[in-house]
Amino acid sequence: MRSQNNFMEVTFKAISINEAFARICVSGFCVQLNPTVDEINDIKTAVSEAVTNCVVHAYPKHNGMVVLRCEIEGDNVKIVIQDKGVGIKDISKAREPFFTTKPDDERSGMGFSVMESFMDRVEVEKNEDKGITVTMYKRINNLQEQVNNA
């Protein structure tokens, strides 16, 4: 049975303890798609990367908020993670593997690469006013259908 279209939105402070909250929030919402454990873990990893970027880079004074939206349409999940922070100077440079503005903090510079590798598609855009919006898409291959087709 196909899932009903659905939507959720939460706003939380851009602090590191909320990374786990964001992961659990999205994975809890996506359960209605009947995903495999691997699919859920892929999504959790990608969400964690995007929220970590907000926590580490968007707000140098640690005083901002993150908006997390999740939309289900058919078998597809769309996840939006948005901040109103300092933004990214050169988005295509930031998306390159191993690029980091904070190498001294033991940062790997692999955030966007991990998002791209765990999701089907990732878009990174500057907001009109301030900050960045990351939009990620993933198709969930319904577990029950996989069992039926096996």
């Binding site: 873990n41 964690s48 593997p97 690469s113």
Partner: protein, 102 residues
């Protein structure tokens, strides 16, 4: 994040339990550095079987520890990564410096 460790036959075994992300990274770094500082061992094995979650923050933490141990000529090995951790390790080439053992 809970970190358990023991030395056996000149090997330091480290078990990471919990979640490794930006929130737990500082605690993980400090604890690992303390564990690595003491004891009588000539290699380190990091067991990830109890690691419930890791994102790319984990790569930064592991490479940082690798650099410190390289100065002491002590190799670090990884075992039992999750499917997601394995994917991140392969993407970043981590296994080139911290080989996976079974």
């Amino acid at each position: 994040m809970q970190i358990k460790s023991k030395v056996y036959n000149n090997t330091l075994y480290v078990l990471l339990c919990g979640e490794l992300d930006e929130h737990s990274a500082i605690h993980t770094r400090i604890t690992l550095d303390n564990v690595f500082a003491g004891g009588d061992f000539n290699q380190i094995i990091i067991d990830l079987s109890e690691l419930e979650f890791m994102d790319s923050t984990g790569i930064g933490v592991l490479i940082g520890r690798y650099k410190k141990m390289k100065d002491r000529n002590i190799p670090i090995y990884i075992c039992n990564p999750s499917k997601q951790a394995e994917k991140i390790f392969k993407m970043t080439g981590l296994y080139d410096i911290m080989p996976k053992i079974v």
